[in-house]
């Protein structure tokens, strides 16, 4: 068996993989390989042709492909190795990687693996939306791919379930291409996506947003003909008697993203069931030594700028890991109060500064986020408004930690 040794193998050539690769190389780790299953680098950004990327990173409003190109250009300039049109078939806990492409099977042994596979979309089957299963039902990302990459128009008379960002972006995209978007239905009492997307994608085009509604039936034998929508109560259960029929020829589902960790599970990586991504420490190292994760595969992001930053933090750690063959053990657990969904990382150590990334479970106004270690308050951050749709990142100076006690992140108003 032909086995190739590599210092670092990066699985995924999207924004996380690219940013990590570039910084690793600049830090002197040059024996890198990026493995990407698409025919070009860039990941999901290739189909995100709208702008809003790079505001923090480059102080510019770029489209997804342009943002990706900034990193791809650096990968090319630095001559970082990559394989495209190549799928990783499996990885093991001793960092063996098997991949396949049109030229055959490839086997690598890496000192470090960076998981950067991104995420997949939650499906209708996972949601158990009742009713028929005709053509014309797809997730928002699939519709986006058809329209932006394949030059295929999927429908003319659209209903969108879920006010997640991708659904909102597609509401606008459909409208600009001449389709009629009848409405966006959201089961929660507040939108799942960014406020500015509600403004620019729905309000701009008078597309109604119905909060506290969900789809309770799908109609149509060959192609979808309509949906039944019901109001929901405070427990998110449909209220009988509130059913209303909306005709449509297309149903777009934008009901959540799930980190794509099938390969991670193969390698025995432990997942956090709140994020559905790997449990990581302050070095972005997973439960398997030498396997690291960043980007959407770790937890679903809303701004790609933060994906790049996270991947770069990871790259510093991987650099240290390759150079020293080990990393300091992280044993301080980060706990969360009931209003905080999760934190990444889940463990840290006292030796270096770290960024806590997390989301709140519901919207809050005029609140303070507290990071405490026992009774000691290590950090306070005040916000006028926080919503689940927007990830919060708080930088913690390691010197403010006084002991080895666990930390707690909570919110107070």
């Amino acid at each position: 068996m032909n086995l190739i040794n590599k210092d670092v193998v990066i699985i995924g050539g999207g924004p996380a993989g690219l940013a990590a690769a570039v910084l690793l190389y600049k830090n002197g780790i040059k024996d890198i390989l990026i493995i990407e299953r698409e025919k070009t680098l860039g990941g999901i950004l290739r189909q995100c042709i709208h702008d809003g990327f790079g505001l923090t990173r480059f102080k510019e409003q770029l489209s997804g492909p342009e943002y990706a190109q900034r990193f791809i250009d650096q990968v090319e300039e630095l001559n970082i190795s990559y394989q495209i049109d190549t799928t990783v078939l499996n990885i093991t806990d001793d960092k063996m990687i098997q991949a396949v492409n049109r030229n055959g099977l490839f086997n690598y042994k890496a000192k470090a693996i960076i998981l950067a596979m991104g995420c997949r979309e939650r499906t209708r089957g996972a949601l158990t939306i009742p009713g028929e299963r005709p053509a014309g039902i797809m997730t928002a990302g699939v519709a986006q791919s058809y329209i932006n990459l394949h030059n295929i128009m999927v429908g003319k008379d659209v209903i969108i379930l879920g006010s997640g960002d991708i659904g909102l972006i597609m509401a606008r995209r459909f409208t600009l291409e001449g389709a009629k978007v009848k409405g966006v239905f959201e089961i929660l009492p507040y939108p799942s996506g960014l406020t500015r997307n509600i403004e620019q994608c729905l309000n701009d085009y008078n597309i109604p947003l119905y909060l506290s509604h969900t789809i309770t039936n799908i109609h149509g034998n060959a192609r979808i003909t309509g949906v039944t929508v019901s109001k929901v109560d405070e427990n998110l259960k449909p209220i009988p008697g509130t059913e209303k029929l909306y005709t449509c020829d297309t149903l777009i589902l934008s009901v959540g993203l799930i980190p794509e960790n099938e390969l991670s599970l193969d390698a025995g990586v432990k997942l956090d069931n709140r994020t559905r991504g790997p449990v990581v420490d302050g070095n972005y190292q997973t439960s398997v030594e030498g396997i690291f994760a960043a980007g959407n595969v770790l937890h679903v992001h809303d701004l790609v700028d933060f994906v790049s930053i996270e991947a770069e933090r990871l790259a510093y750690s991987v650099t240290e890991y390759i150079k020293n063959n080990s990393l300091p053990k992280c044993e301080i657990i980060i706990n969360t109060s009931k209003d905080i969904n999760y934190t990444v990382p889940q463990y840290i150590d006292k030796t270096k500064d770290f960024t806590l990334s997390f989301r709140v479970k519901r919207p809050f106004k005029n609140c303070r986020i507290l990071v405490k270690q026992g009774e000691l308050v290590i950090k306070i951050a005040a916000y006028k408004k926080v919503i689940p749709a927007e990830m919060i990142n708080i930088l913690i100076n390691h010197k403010s930690l006084q002991s080895d006690k666990d930390l707690e992140v909570s919110i107070e108003c």
Partner: protein, 121 residues
């Protein structure tokens, strides 16, 4: 008259309330920076938007070239701009930043390609 706006300039999404008297702005509060103030004033007078779309690409490894505007244009003309974009064709290869339509509808905004796409072999 009190009007509420959500600023879209940055992720903060500040909720800005504007007190109007007729066409004049008397008070503006809620923004964390003056980009927000500028945006709201523009929103009131003549809302501007940037849009992204696709142009048919001939002989490329992809059938469409993604494009966007270099500067925002009046919201009211979005669909006129779309009509022009729909009529346009490009030949591969195309590059990021390449101008697909110069000064579209005289709006002081170009339509540029946002993706490198090679020609079909």
């Amino acid at each position: 008259m009190l009007k509420e706006y959500t600023c879209i300039i940055c992720p903060n999404g500040c909720e800005i309330s504007v007190e109007m008297q007729g066409e004049e702005i008397i008070k503006l509060e809620g923004s964390l920076c003056d980009r927000g103030d500028k945006y709201i004033k523009q929103e009131i007078i003549n809302p501007q938007r940037n849009i992204a779309s696709s142009v048919l690409l001939e002989n490329g490894v992809l059938p469409l070239a993604s494009v966007r505007l270099t500067n925002p244009i009046p919201k009211s003309i979005i669909f006129n701009v779309m009509e022009e974009i729909k009529k346009t064709r490009l030949k591969a290869p195309v590059y990021v930043g390449q101008v697909a339509i110069q000064n579209i509808l005289n709006l002081d905004s170009d339509v540029i390609v946002t993706k490198n796409i090679a020609s079909k072999k």
